[in-house]
Subunit: 232 residues, 4 copies
């Protein structure tokens, strides 16, 4: 447990959902910590930037939703790797489909994250983009077909071959890169399938945040992840 990343990993992206801002983000962190202890599955949260420091007191890894490819300096309104690390983050998402980056900026953002000790989860909308970003040696690649995001149709169900092909091709480029599976995940079954297809965790947002009961939802996901991993 603790703030280090281990696998299987569930990252919950809080996006800018009002349901998970401020104190409510703290509430979710408390639940995540608890579920993580109970199941052994690592649960990380990616809150609003303004909430990173609040969540860093919990025993879970906290992720920034984005960092900019900048050095310290005159960059008003940008997200500096050092600020995010200082606030207590363990890692950062890069190139989420709602915050896509230029390819050269992905390379620099990953370098900057490494310099300050942040793990990197680079999102890819297709297998080929996943292969491409693997060239930058991030910690993880999250495969998220954007047409499935928020639909409740899990990529692990609708496009299983996208997951398995991505895992195989990304590992060919760099075997140290872990693959996460995102988009449309709403049930323990989706999580189970994702891990059986070779991924090492999931990136989820509305599937948890919009669920009627956060603890039940997280528990279902975390158990499925633990089960699937145990059987491998």
């Amino acid at each position: 447990m603790g703030r280090n990343i281990h696998y299987p990993l569930i990252i919950v992206n809080l996006k800018t959902y009002l349901e998970a801002v401020g104190k409510k983000a703290e509430e979710l962190a408390k639940i995540s910590e608890k579920v993580s202890y109970e199941t052994g599955t690592c649960i990380g949260l990616a809150p609003n930037f303004t909430d990173i420091s609040r969540l860093s007191i919990f025993n879970i890894p906290v992720f920034s939703q984005h960092i900019d490819p900048i050095e310290p300096g005159p960059y008003t309104g940008h997200i500096l790797a050092e600020s995010v690390a200082e606030a207590g983050a363990t890692g950062t998402i890069v190139n989420h489909s709602e915050k896509r980056l230029k390819i050269s900026d992905i390379e620099v953002a990953i370098e900057r994250a490494k310099e300050v000790g942040l793990a990197t989860v680079v999102c890819a909308n297709t297998t080929r983009v996943g292969i491409a970003v693997a060239a930058f040696a991030p910690s993880m690649v999250a495969i998220e077909p954007p047409e499935l995001i928020g639909t409740g149709i899990a990529v692990s169900k609708a496009k299983p071959e996208v997951v398995s092909n991505s895992v195989r091709e990304i590992k060919k480029i760099d075997p140290n890169v872990e693959v996460l599976c995102g988009a449309g995940i709403v049930s323990g079954r989706d999580v189970y399938a994702a891990i059986k297809l070779g991924s090492n965790g999931i990136l989820v947002a509305s599937g948890v945040i919009k669920a009627p009961n956060w603890e039940n939802s997280l528990l279902e996901f975390a158990k499925a992840a633990a089960d699937a991993s145990g059987e491998l």
Copy 2:
């Protein structure tokens, strides 16, 4: 004093300068609070997003460096007005020259800020842009010719007519909009001149952050602002 804005106003933009991240931002907040009490000049800080909540315990107004023109929802990596307000900010900068917005987004960002009770400081690189953004009825317009930012050559010295013309023309569009003066301010003289030219405060960054002694620098600026205001 306190977290409300009053005039004359000095806003210190901490940008993504490493000198002013995290604990160092808190240190600057403590100093700002003290100088503000001593001089009666309102001093606000615009820290990294990750530091807004840390600074909100001080008796000074805190500004976000930017907000995005979005409603709550699936906007990973964006800056939501509600998050910034919840973290304790009093206001937000909009359209800083290092984070320029599309014109239609400026209108929406200002609306969103108003909805959550944030004051707005809209930056303008020219007098005409200042006039244009005044149409959106922000709380303040900060005139900052970008070619002077970080130069140590104050707009109030180098281009006094830019300041006085901007004040006159902006007040014609909307007399409730306060005008701040930015770019190149490094001395109490620059601050004094800015206010004598009709502005009601300044927006400053490196002029404070890179100064050898923050307290001396802020004290010089705040006294000059109080003096100039008292004489009007």
Copy 3:
């Protein structure tokens, strides 16, 4: 007639519709020229950049769909005012809702257009944005609520007060700025209403390009514009 702009003015935006690329753009130009002669209404076309020179041989004004706020120099992939003028354009659209610009870039783009003798049609999605851009003294402001673009519901019908308020407020800022009316225009009635509400022409795209018969459509629009203008 000829390549100069006169009012009432109908600008047809060819966007990147395949129906109006290359030779088909020439065909539309031929029809526009003819209808313009017959009705006395000025008809301008805004084709793909690659088609500007092809259309410049016709006796109608040709508009660029966009220009970048750049001087000649190392700006691969950008739209230079001089290139557009050299290709034979009479004017340029700026800040179309599908190609929105930062506010400071609108100012520079308009300046660059003026330097090379191009008329400017600045698009505004709201009345306030229309007022704001009027500060830059463009030749025309086109009011186009984006929620109506391509719907077949004309702004002049759905939101007549947006048109009349925009005309009044924009003329207050600068009486030399002409106001065009855009979004959702599909019939001669819409055009007639637009001009009766105080605008001096329209900006239309799918209403013409997707019409079953270009000549009939243009003729209907141009006659309505001429009728409405004649009655003022």
Copy 4:
């Protein structure tokens, strides 16, 4: 000869240099055609979008400087693959350092180019970005360290290992991808070195456009390319 691409290939990027707009672009095309006949080296030009159709009558391949990742439709101000092809282009540059794209957009832009029969030259600022974009199977990757662009210090001289490593690693990902060498090339020597290091041509801009005599410059480059290729 003719409008098809063969190797070694020299692509001259006319950027938005005023020296090479309109009639001057035609002049350069005439010279390029002549030098190409004399030396057997393929010379392509990448002019302003507005000049593509003018240059398509010459017996040289013409490249667009950029295309957008869009289908035909309502995309005012964008560059549609079909428009560029219809204007007579043989290929297109994608992701030039002055017009960088999001990684997912590079994939789509390359697909769109293939659909309309355009060859693709994807620019990469580093070897790793070159490897990454090779995953999208473009026709060519041009390695251009941006810090050398316009300096007169050729990448083939200053950083020969960047060229040779890029060629080796890109060919590992996809042996069908040709590698071009860009940035800082000003002499026949630079061209010769580039090809000896394994690239199959160059991408050059100011090195030709700003040269005192276009024909001499192109002749020197084209001969060096032919010589180096003949010796391989």
